[in-house]
């Protein structure tokens, strides 16, 4: 009948209004919470919250309280800050050679270390210009020593382009929460970078770190 479609349309929007499950907005980076939501988000039971922090409780009743909201993410997400382990890196510069954009700049000098296994170089410079990076991950695939991993974060906004170049100092001091992309050793351990646990250099490799006896055995064979 003429006009029935109009009523149907009204019903659709009415359902949107009434059913909270239809809301699809994710509030990021902060989520507004009510009183119940606040006690749920902070894990503090409601009466304790009222006693301990009355100001925030009143604010939450007025709809002014916020809690941090992080978006759900897969552990294999290829994020921005690369995780790089200086202890593992030999300065072979495979990553720099494989990068299609040529944005990894490596300058090495002889260090006289580990001569028997092939030279381990001293890294004078290790710059990645993530302002031009496309996060293809080829550099990570290329690294033979599992020294370079994709990162897990994405909140890297800066005011200047130069700030997007991450140099050796930044790489060393950055949080070591590598993405498990192309790193089955991390994935098989069910490692999730978004839980915030750091991975040490000796836990990031493809093989277990050899024990002292194994190492000595190996040296004896030579």
């Amino acid at each position: 009948m003429y006009g029935l479609g109009l009523v149907k349309g009204l019903m659709v929007t009415a359902k949107n209004l009434v059913l909270p499950s239809r809301m699809m907005t994710v509030q990021y980076p902060n989520r507004k919470v009510g009183l119940l939501g606040l006690s749920k988000a902070t894990g503090v039971p409601l009466p304790k919250l009222l006693l301990k922090d009355p100001i925030t409780s009143v604010k939450s009743l007025l709809g002014m309280a916020e809690v941090k909201e992080s978006l759900p993410q897969h552990p294999r997400f290829r994020g921005e800050e690369f995780s790089w382990y200086e202890q593992r890196c030999t300065g072979c510069a495979s990553c720099a050679k494989y990068c299609p954009l040529g944005i990894i700049e490596i300058v090495t000098s002889e260090s006289g270390d580990q001569m028997q296994e092939g030279q381990k170089y001293h890294l004078d410079k290790f710059d990645i210009d993530i302002g031009r990076c496309m996060f293809c991950g080829l550099c990570v695939e290329a690294c033979p020593y599992d020294a370079l991993h994709m990162g897990s974060g994405f909140e890297e906004g800066t005011y200047r382009r130069q700030d997007l170049v991450i140099d050796k100092r930044k790489l060393v001091s950055a949080k070591k929460t590598p993405s498990t992309w192309f790193r089955p050793q991390l994935a098989s351990k069910k490692y999730d970078p978004h839980k915030g646990k750091n991975v040490k250099w000796d836990g990031a490799g493809r093989h277990e770190k050899p024990s002292l006896e194994q190492q000595q055995e190996k040296w004896a064979k030579r």
């Binding site: 109009l6 907005t25 709809g63 002014m64």
Partner: protein
């Protein structure tokens, strides 16, 4: 003390005038008049602008929920300070006037647009009387004042020297004038049943809300009114996807803020009018005072407007004109005739129609409404109407016979 006195004498023009007149000499009558008018103006403007600001927030939050979004919730409690942020953002923007625009008219248009909206509020009865006292031709006053808006829209569109603004203004004039007619006829029907033209007398006459007595009039009025205030589904005046922004394409800064303010004020006015004419105004039950009833009813109507805006798509130009002339005009005339015959039969005396009469009218009018709407829309319905055959524009083949085209085609043939 002062407030009590003013309240007791009624917060309207006569009350305030009488209050100041008591301790002023007769020679200063003009001053009393001035003070009274200023107080009234300040009260009305502040009340209306504040409620409009609230409405923008209400509408945006509600629209958000209707479309499974959140709406503004960042600034202040529940986002309530959002209108202030918007206002600051609008007022700090540069106020540009396009080159070649008709400057005086361009500047005047927002003011002409805003003033009638404010004036209408002075006669809407919140409780017993309105701000201007009990105006005995309130209905005519409202209809007359609101039609000025059409002029303002056309002024804005014409003076800004922009084709989109001009299109918007032309559509506005065509549409607003068409919808004024059914709206006027329904108002005549209301006046006929209430046996008065004063707005507060109309409320007093509503022993049964007129939405029950004259559902047809209510439907026609609310449709025509939402076209008058050019909201979805009738917002083709400023249809953003076709015309940029319609008549206010060229406006910015404070002038744009004024236009926008009036646009958001229109739903409040219409809702208040609908409440007065069809929902029995301030009359309610129990201990809740009259003005609260009025506000509650107004909010219900506003909720309906937002709901409709969130759900329905915009009509095409020809559909809108068709609805006005082929749909609403016959319906409003049918309503007027039926009501007139009924009033003639019941022949009310001094006291107007009795409640029994109104109940009988209710029964008859519901039947008439259903039959009339069914008949009209079956006549208008999709199956009966034929799409006009598109006519090829003479401009489309403008170059068909010129030499250039011939040369090019000749070349192609030669190859």
């Amino acid at each position: 003390m002062t407030e009590i006195l003013i309240l007791r004498s009624g917060f309207d023009f006569n009350g305030i005038y009488g209050f100041f007149d008591e301790f002023m000499p007769d020679s200063l009558d003009w001053l009393v008049f001035l003070i009274t008018s200023l107080i009234l103006a300040i009260v009305i403007i502040n009340a209306v602008v504040l409620s409009t600001a609230l409405l923008t927030w209400f509408e945006r939050r509600l629209l958000g929920r209707f479309q499974s979004r959140l709406g503004p919730n960042r600034w202040g409690p529940f986002g309530l300070l959002q209108p202030i942020a918007d206002l600051v953002s609008l007022l700090t923007k540069e106020d540009t006037i396009p080159e070649g625009a008709d400057k005086p008219i361009f500047t005047l248009a927002p003011i002409v647009f805003l003033a009638p909206a404010l004036i209408v509020f002075s006669v809407i009865p919140l409780h017993g009387g309105s701000f201007l006292g009990n105006l005995n031709v309130g209905l005519i006053f409202v209809i007359a004042i609101t039609s000025i808006n059409t002029l303002a829209v056309f002024m804005a569109g014409w003076s800004s020297l922009n084709k989109y603004a001009m299109f918007g203004a032309m559509r506005a004039v065509a549409m607003l004038i068409s919808y004024e007619i059914p709206m006027g006829i329904t108002v005549v029907a209301v006046a006929l049943v209430a046996q008065t033209l004063g707005l507060s007398d109309v409320v007093l006459a509503q022993d049964i809300p007129y939405i029950l007595v004259m559902p047809l009039a209510f439907l026609v009025f609310i449709t025509a009114a939402s076209a008058e205030m050019s909201r979805t589904p009738f917002d083709l005046i400023e249809s953003d996807s076709e015309l940029g922004a319609g008549y206010h394409t060229e406006y910015s800064g404070a002038k744009f803020a004024l236009l926008q303010l009036t646009e958001f004020m229109a739903p409040i006015i219409v809702a208040a009018l609908v409440t007065t004419l069809f929902l029995s105004g301030w009359r309610g039950y129990g201990p809740i005072p009259g003005p609260v009833w009025f506000v509650i009813k107004t909010f219900i109507v506003l909720f309906g407007f937002v709901w409709i805006r969130a759900s329905w798509p915009r009509l095409r130009v020809d559909q809108i004109m068709g609805l006005a002339w082929k749909g609403l005009l016959p319906l409003s005339i049918i309503n007027l005739f039926v009501v007139a015959i009924e009033v003639f039969i019941f022949n009310p005396g001094e006291n107007g129609l009795s409640t029994t009469d109104l109940w009988i009218m209710t029964g008859v009018n519901w039947g008439v409404t259903i039959i009339a709407i069914f008949a009209i829309f079956n006549l208008l319905g999709q199956s009966k109407s034929e799409r006009p055959v598109p006519v090829i524009s003479p401009l489309a083949n403008m170059y068909a016979n010129t030499n250039t085209v011939k040369k090019i085609t000749d070349l192609a043939e030669a190859e």
